[in-house]
C-alpha cells in the first residue's frame, strides 16, 4: 500500500497544498497553548490547588487540542499514503465539533472545515455566522449568575436562540445545496431569514445573505462578482476569518448588550463588592468601586468599536477625496494639497492629537476629531497613488475622449477602481486607531473618565497592579485581541484584494 517512491518534495507538496493539514496543526497547537495558559492561571501556588472554572476550561481545551493533534496525525498519514483525506478521518471532525461549546473556536472552525470535503465561501460564512451567535449566547448567559439581570435579558436570549437556530438551518441547507452554481429558488427565504439575523450585528449573516441574493439573481449566467471572488479567497485564510469572527463577535455583543446586559452593573458603585477576584458572579472580578469588570469590558467594546470605526471612516472620506482630487487634477492642485498635508504628516499622530486635545479639551468627540485629522495624510497619499495609476488606463482616456466631465470620470470610473488598497489600509489602521484611543484615555486625554472605555478601565486598574493585577490585565487582553483581529483581517484582505493574483 505504501508508496515507497514518494520523494521528500512530493510529500512536502502534498502536505503543504492541503489546507486541512495546516489548519489542524495550527488549531491543535493553539488549543494546547491556551490550555497550558488557563491551567497556569487557575493554579494558585500558595496552597497548590486549582480554581474549578479555570481547571475545567483548561482540561477541555487540552483534551480537544490533543484530539485535534491526533486528527492532524491521521490527516498526515492519509495524505502521505493516498494523497487525500479519508472518509473516516473526515468523520472524526464530527467528534471535534462539540469543542464550539467550550469556546474553542480554533478547533471548532477546523472541524467544520474537515467534515466538508468540497468547501466554498457560502459554507464558511454560514459556519462562522452560527459560531458567532453561539459564542455571543454563551457569553451573555454568564449573566445568569448575577443577582439580577437586565429587563430585556429573557427576550434577548430568546431572540439570540432563534437567530442561532435559523443560522444552523441555513448552515445545513447551504452545506447541501450551496455549492452549485444555480441554487434553488426557495433559498430566497433562507437569505431573507439570514438578513433578519444580521440585525444582531452578525456580519457573516449579512455577507452570506448578500451572497445568496447575488447568486439567486445571477442564476449561473456569469462567473460571479468581484465581491464574491474576494470572499471566496478571504474564506480560505483561517486567520483572517478568525479575526473577522472576533470583530463580529464584539459587534454582535455590543448590539445585543443593549437589551441583555444591565448598564448599572458597569457604572454604579457597589461598595460591598470592592476588588473581588473572578467568581461566577463576577467572571472577571470587580474594580475599586465594586463595578463588574466583565460588564464594563462588554460595554467598553461598544465605545472602542464606534471610536475606531469613526476615526477610520472620517479620514478615509476626507483623505480619500483630497487624494483623489490631487491625483486627478495634478499640477498646482496636487502641489497645494499635498504640501499642506505634508505639514500634517510631519507631526506624529499622537502628538498632534495631544495638541488638538490640549486646545479643545478632552472628550469623546474631540478625541475622534483629533485622531481623524492626524490620519488624513496617510489616506490621501494612498488614494493619490491609486488615482495616479488608474487615470493612465485606457478606459479613462476613452471616457475623456467621449466628453464625460471630470466629476463623472473621477467618481464613476476612477474611484471604484482605486478603493481596494484603501479598504486594506483602513482595516489595518483601524487597529492602531483602537490602540491610540485607549492610549489617550490612559493618559487622561481621551474618553471621559466615567465612561467604561477599555483605556479608562486599564487606567483605574493600573493603580492596583500590585495587589489586583487582573483589573489591568483583562481590559488589555481585550484591546490586544481586537487589534490582533483587525490586523489578521487586514492581512487577509490584502492578500484577497491583491491585484497581482488576478
Amino acid at each position: 500500500m505504501k508508496n515507497v517512491s514518494l520523494t521528500k518534495q512530493e510529500m512536502n507538496f502534498r502536505l503543504k497544498s492541503n489546507p486541512e493539514y495546516g489548519q489542524a496543526s495550527f488549531a491543535g497547537l493553539i488549543s494546547l497553548a491556551l490550555a497550558v495558559l488557563l491551567l497556569w492561571n487557575a493554579y494558585s501556588p500558595a496552597d497548590g490547588s486549582f480554581k474549578a472554572v479555570g481547571l475545567g476550561a483548561g482540561i477541555a481545551f487540552g483534551l480537544f487540542g490533543l484530539l485535534q493533534l491526533a486528527v492532524w496525525y491521521l490527516i498526515r498519514t492519509n495524505l502521505i499514503r493516498h494523497a487525500a483525506i479519508g472518509k473516516a478521518t473526515r468523520g472524526l471532525g464530527f467528534l471535534l465539533l462539540p469543542s464550539l461549546f467550550t469556546g474553542n473556536v480554533f478547533v471548532a472552525s477546523t472541524a467544520f472545515h474537515l467534515v466538508k470535503k468540497k468547501k466554498y465561501a457560502a459554507y464558511t460564512l454560514a459556519v462562522y455566522s452560527f459560531m458567532t451567535t453561539v459564542l455571543v449566547f454563551g457569553v451573555t448567559a454568564l449573566n445568569l449568575f448575577k443577582p439580577y439581570v437586565a429587563n430585556g435579558f429573557l427576550s434577548g436570549m430568546t431572540l439570540l436562540l432563534i437567530a442561532g437556530f435559523i443560522q444552523l438551518i441555513a448552515l445545513l441547507l447551504i452545506a447541501k445545496y450551496g455549492g452549485e452554481a444555480v441554487i434553488p429558488r426557495w433559498m430566497a427565504i433562507v437569505a431573507i431569514a439570514l438578513l433578519a439575523t444580521a440585525a444582531t450585528g452578525n456580519l457573516f449573516s449579512l455577507f452570506l445573505s448578500l451572497m445568496l441574493f447575488a447568486k439567486l439573481r445571477n442564476r449561473g449566467f456569469t462567473s460571479g462578482s468581484r465581491f464574491g471572488d474576494v470572499f471566496e479567497r478571504l474564506s480560505r485564510s483561517s486567520t483572517s476569518m478568525l479575526g473577522l469572527l472576533f470583530v463580529t463577535f464584539l459587534l454582535t455583543l455590543s448590539i445585543t448588550s443593549l437589551i441583555t446586559f444591565d448598564y448599572g452593573l458597569a457604572i454604579d458603585n457597589n461598595y460591598s463588592a470592592i476588588l473581588q477576584s473572578p467568581t461566577a458572579e463576577y467572571p472577571l472580578g470587580t474594580d475599586n468601586y465594586g463595578r463588574d469588570l466583565f460588564s464594563r469590558i462588554v460595554f467598553g467594546a461598544r465605545i472602542s468599536l464606534i471610536v475606531g470605526f469613526l476615526t477610520t471612516l472620517i479620514p478615509l472620506l476626507i483623505g480619500g477625496l483630497l487624494g483623489a482630487l490631487s491625483g486627478y487634477y495634478g499640477k498646482r492642485t496636487d502641489n497645494l494639497i499635498m504640501r499642506a498635508l505634508d505639514v500634517l504628516y510631519a507631526v506624529p499622530a499622537i502628538l498632534l492629537a495631544i495638541a488638538i486635545i490640549a486646545a479643545f479639551g478632552a472628550g469623546t468627540v474631540n478625541l475622534i476629531i483629533a485622531l481623524s485629522v492626524s490620519s488624513i495624510p496617510t489616506y490621501a497619499r494612498t488614494m493619490r497613488a491609486n488615482v495616479l495609476q488608474v487615470s493612465t488606463l485606457e478606459y479613462v482616456q476613452a471616457a475623456r475622449a467621449f466628453g464625460s466631465n471630470d466629476w463623472i470620470i473621477l467618481f464613476k470610473h476612477i474611484l471604484p477602481n482605486s478603493v481596494a488598497p484603501m479598504i486594506v489600509q483602513s482595516t489595518l489602521t483601524i487597529g492602531s486607531a483602537v490602540i491610540s484611543t485607549s492610549s489617550l484615555s490612559f493618559l487622561g486625554l481621551g474618553v471621559e473618565p466615567h465612561i467604561p472605555e477599555w483605556g479608562n478601565i486599564l487606567k483605574l486598574g493600573s493603580a492596583y497592579l500590585e495587589t489586583h493585577s487582573f483589573t489591568a490585565i483583562y481590559p488589555g487582553l481585550a484591546i490586544i485581541l481586537l487589534v490582533l483581529s483587525f490586523n489578521f483581517l487586514g492581512d487577509g484582505l490584502r492578500d484577497a484584494l491583491d491585484p497581482k493574483l488576478d
Binding site: 507631526v347 506624529p348 495638541a355 486646545a359 493618559l443 497592579l465 489591568a472 484591546i479 490586544i480
Partner: protein, 480 residues
C-alpha cells in the same frame, strides 16, 4: 552675430550658458536666478532690449502678422474653427448659444494664427541666418568675453552659488529637500500655534483659579503676551523657535527652551537605542522568514510580530512592571538616568512595535525581491544561495525597509509620551502631556515643533540614504 561665433570656442562660457538656459525653464529656479543675480539681471535685461531693437525683431514680427492678416488667413482659420466646433457640438448633442460658439471659435483661431505667425518668423529668420535671440543667448554672449564674465562673477555672486548648487545633482537634491523641510517646519509651527490660539481654553483662568479677578487675568495675559493680535503672537513664537528662546512657561516660571533641552535628550536616547536594537533583531528574523516562507519558523515569528504590533505600549509596560519589578525584582519599575538597568524595560517596550513592523516589512520586501527575474538569473549562473541573497537581494530589499524605519522612528518619538508616563520618565512626551491640561502654550508649542523638526531631519537622512543604497534612484537624480 560675432559673439555667437566666438563663444563656440569658449568651453566654460558654453557650459555656464547652457546651465543658465536650463534653470530659466524652471519657474522657481528662474525666479531665484533672476533675483539672486539682480544687478546682473538688470544689466542683461537692458542689453537684451537693446539688442532686440537693434536686430529689428519687433519690426519683422509686426510685418509678418500684418501680412498674414491681409492674406485673409485669420478669416479662413476662423471659419474652419467655427465649423469644427459646431460639428463637435452636434456629435455630443450639446446645445450652445451662438455667442459662446463664436467666442470658442475665435479663441481657437487665434491660437492657430499665432502658431502660424511664429512659424513664418522662424522661417524668415532662418533664411537670414540669425536665429531668434533669447535672454539666455544674451547672457551667453555677455559672459563669452572674459572681462565681462569676471564682472558678472562680482555683481552676481549669489547667483553663481545657486548655479553651482544646481549643477551638482546630489547637492541640488539635498538643497531642495532641505528647503522643503524648512517650509514644512514653518507650516507645523503655524499649524500648532493656530490650534492653540483658537482654543476655547483659558490658561489664565485655569492657572489663577476661579477666584481670579478680571484685572489679574488681564495682567497675566499682558505678561505672557496673550493680549497681542494673532500675527504678532505667531511671529513671536516662530522667532522663539528659531532662536531657541520660547520665553517662560506659564507654570513654574521656567525657561521653556531649557526645560526642553533637559528632557528631549532622554527621549531621543531611549528612542535611538530602541531603534538600533530593533533593527538588529528584526532584520535577521525577516530575512530568515523570507528565505523559508510558510515554514514553522516563518509562521511562529510572523505571528509573534503581529502580536507585537497589536500590544498597546502602556499595557505591555504595566505587564513588564508587574512581572519583572513586582513579582521578580529584576529591573526597577521607574526610570532613573543614572541606572542603565532601569532603561531596559522602557527600551524593550518602545522597541516592540518597531521590531514587529520592521520584521514584517523585511520579510515581505525580501520575498518580493527574491522572486525577481534577476535573482533567477543569478541562481542560473550558478551562484550559491548565500551569495545571491547577500549580494543581490538584500541591497534592493532594504529600500522599503529604510522607509519603514524612518516612519516608525517618527511614530516612536511622538508616541513616547505613553511609555514615559508608565515608567515615570521625565522625557519630552510626558512634559507635553503634563502641560496640556492648562494649556501651557509655549511648552506645548516648543515640544511639538522640536519633535517635528527632529523627525523631519530624520526623514531627510532617510531620503539621502535611498540614494546611497539604490543606484536606480541615484541615476534618476542625475537625470532630472
Amino acid at each position: 552675430m560675432t559673439g555667437h561665433v566666438a563663444s563656440r570656442k569658449n568651453g566654460i562660457a558654453d557650459g555656464m550658458a547652457s546651465l543658465y538656459r536650463k534653470m530659466l525653464l524652471h519657474p522657481s529656479y528662474r525666479f531665484l536666478l533672476l533675483v539672486l543675480g539682480a544687478p546682473l539681471t538688470i544689466l542683461l535685461y537692458l542689453l537684451h532690449r537693446h539688442r532686440l531693437t537693434k536686430g529689428g525683431y519687433r519690426t519683422i514680427t509686426e510685418a509678418i502678422s500684418k501680412e498674414l492678416l491681409q492674406s485673409g488667413l485669420r478669416d479662413e482659420l476662423l471659419q474652419e474653427a467655427r465649423e469644427q466646433i459646431s460639428r463637435k457640438h452636434i456629435f455630443f448633442g450639446k446645445k450652445t448659444g451662438k455667442e459662446e460658439l463664436e467666442k470658442e471659435a475665435s479663441a481657437l483661431a487665434d491660437t492657430r494664427f499665432n502658431a502660424r505667425a511664429r512659424e513664418q518668423l522662424a522661417r524668415k529668420l532662418e533664411e537670414a541666418d540669425s536665429p531668434r535671440l533669447s535672454f539666455a543667448d544674451t547672457y551667453h554672449d555677455f559672459i563669452s568675453h572674459p572681462g565681462y564674465f569676471a564682472l558678472s562673477l562680482v555683481i552676481g555672486f549669489p547667483m553663481y552659488l545657486l548655479m553651482a548648487l544646481y549643477a551638482n545633482p546630489y547637492l541640488k537634491y539635498i538643497a531642495e529637500r532641505l528647503v522643503m523641510t524648512v517650509f514644512v517646519i514653518l507650516g507645523v509651527a503655524v499649524l500648532v500655534f493656530t490650534i492653540l490660539y483658537v482654543s476655547p481654553m483659558n490658561p489664565a483662568a485655569n492657572l489663577l483659579g476661579e477666584t481670579a479677578t478680571a484685572e489679574q487675568i488681564a495682567a497675566f495675559n499682558a505678561v505672557y503676551g496673550l493680549d497681542q493680535p494673532y500675527l504678532v503672537q505667531l511671529w513671536q513664537s516662530i522667532k522663539g523657535i528659531i532662536t531657541f528662546d520660547l520665553g517662560k512657561s506659564f507654570v513654574g516660571n521656567e525657561l521653556v527652551a531649557t526645560a526642553i533641552s533637559n528632557k528631549f535628550p532622554i527621549t531621543l536616547t531611549l528612542s535611538v537605542v530602541a531603534t538600533l536594537i530593533a533593527v538588529v533583531i528584526a532584520l535577521p528574523i525577516g530575512i530568515i522568514s523570507a528565505t523559508r516562507p510558510n515554514s514553522f519558523f516563518d509562521y511562529t515569528f510572523m505571528f509573534i510580530a503581529l502580536l507585537g504590533l497589536s500590544i498597546p505600549n502602556f499595557w505591555q509596560g504595566l505587564i513588564f512592571i508587574l512581572n519583572f519589578s513586582i513579582k521578580l525584582p529584576w529591573f526597577p519599575a521607574t526610570y532613573n538616568p543614572n541606572n542603565w538597568m532601569s532603561a531596559v524595560m522602557p527600551i524593550v517596550v518602545l522597541g516592540t512595535g518597531f521590531t514587529a513592523a520592521v520584521a514584517r516589512m523585511t520579510r515581505s520586501s525580501t520575498l518580493e525581491v527574491i522572486h525577481e527575474d534577476y535573482i533567477t538569473t543569478a541562481k542560473a549562473k550558478g551562484l550559491r544561495n548565500g551569495q545571491v541573497l547577500w549580494k543581490h537581494a538584500i541591497g534592493n530589499a532594504l529600500i522599503p525597509i529604510i522607509t519603514v524605519i524612518g516612519l516608525m522612528f517618527g511614530g516612536m518619538l511622538g508616541g513616547a509620551a505613553v511609555t514615559e508616563k508608565v515608567f515615570n520618565i521625565s522625557g519630552i512626551g510626558s512634559y507635553i502631556v503634563d502641560r496640556q491640561f492648562i494649556p501651557d502654550i509655549p511648552a506645548i508649542m516648543g515640544g511639538v515643533v522640536y519633535v517635528a523638526i527632529t523627525i523631519s531631519i530624520v526623514n531627510v537622512i532617510v531620503d539621502l540614504l535611498y540614494a546611497f543604497f539604490d543606484p536606480r534612484i541615484r541615476s534618476k537624480m542625475k537625470q532630472y
